[in-house]
């Protein structure tokens, strides 16, 4: 059974090496808190592996409240959930792994 990875820190504060060592290709990712900046991570300062297109190979969700708080607009190919959706994901996946 697959895991839900909860990514709560900005791309520059998240260890991609650690993350990628644990995430399985069939796992699900949810970006919350400063993690939602992953939605805008096509900057030169971010490791290529952390850029949004890279994560497209995984099933990804962004937390609506945290996107809105930070003024980040969702683009069309992003899946956005509110906290109810977050709870639903945590129930659907067998376990969660938090990254903070």
């Amino acid at each position: 059974m697959h895991s839900l990875h909860i990514i709560a820190k900005a791309p520059t504060a998240t260890s991609l090496a650690d993350l990628l060592a644990v995430i399985d290709e069939s796992d699900v990712l949810i970006f919350i808190e400063d993690g939602v900046y992953f939605a805008r991570s096509e900057f030169p300062c971010v490791e290529p592996a952390a850029s949004a297109p890279y994560f497209r190979q995984y099933e990804c969700y962004y937390l609506a409240e945290d996107l809105a708080a930070r003024g980040i607009e969702a683009h069309d190919d992003m899946q956005v959930v509110d906290t109810r959706g977050f709870v639903a994901l945590s129930a659907r996946l067998a376990r969660s792994v938090s990254w903070y």
């Binding site: 909860i6 709560a8 969702a74 956005v80 945590s90």
Partner: protein, 143 residues
């Protein structure tokens, strides 16, 4: 397509959750995320087996925090959530005493002048985290 809510019916299977809260209300958004998550869990009909406050998270049980009127007093909201829903809430004793969070028993034990912990939470040990893990379906950490 932007879907704002995953369209799920009310959960058929009630799951038992343990939430590990590892950040102080003042140190970032995590404590607030945890609180929102906890409230939503209950709304959706799930069960909270135990809240476990660990590390800086123990500050969430302080009954001595004061906030300006236009800011949220997170410990007070936690207290209300815990009381209204009769939740089991445990504050890790070794984290707590280091940060000045004590109930009256710990205050006595360490010869301190006052207690500083909401009585809705219990000062306890990591054994209570381990025990709760054995009795739950999901564990989520916030920090």
């Amino acid at each position: 397509m932007v879907a704002y809510v995953i369209d799920t019916p009310e959960p058929i299977t009630v799951l038992r959750y343990v939430l590990l809260i590892n950040a102080a209300p003042q140190s970032g958004e995590a404590a607030n995320s945890a609180l929102r998550f906890a409230g939503t869990l209950l709304e959706m009909g799930h069960h909270i087996e135990r809240l476990f406050f660990y590390g800086d998270g123990v500050i969430n049980a302080s009954n001595l925090t004061v906030m300006p009127q236009d800011e949220t007093n997170l410990p007070a909201v936690w207290n209300a959530l815990i009381e209204e829903n009769g939740l089991s809430s445990v504050v890790c004793v070794s984290s707590a005493i280091r940060r000045g969070i004590v109930d009256s028993a710990e205050a006595r034990r360490h010869e301190l002048p006052a207690s500083s912990c909401y009585t809705s939470s219990e000062i306890g040990g990591l054994g209570q985290l381990i025990e709760a893990l054995s009795n739950c379906d999901r564990t989520l950490s916030f920090g």
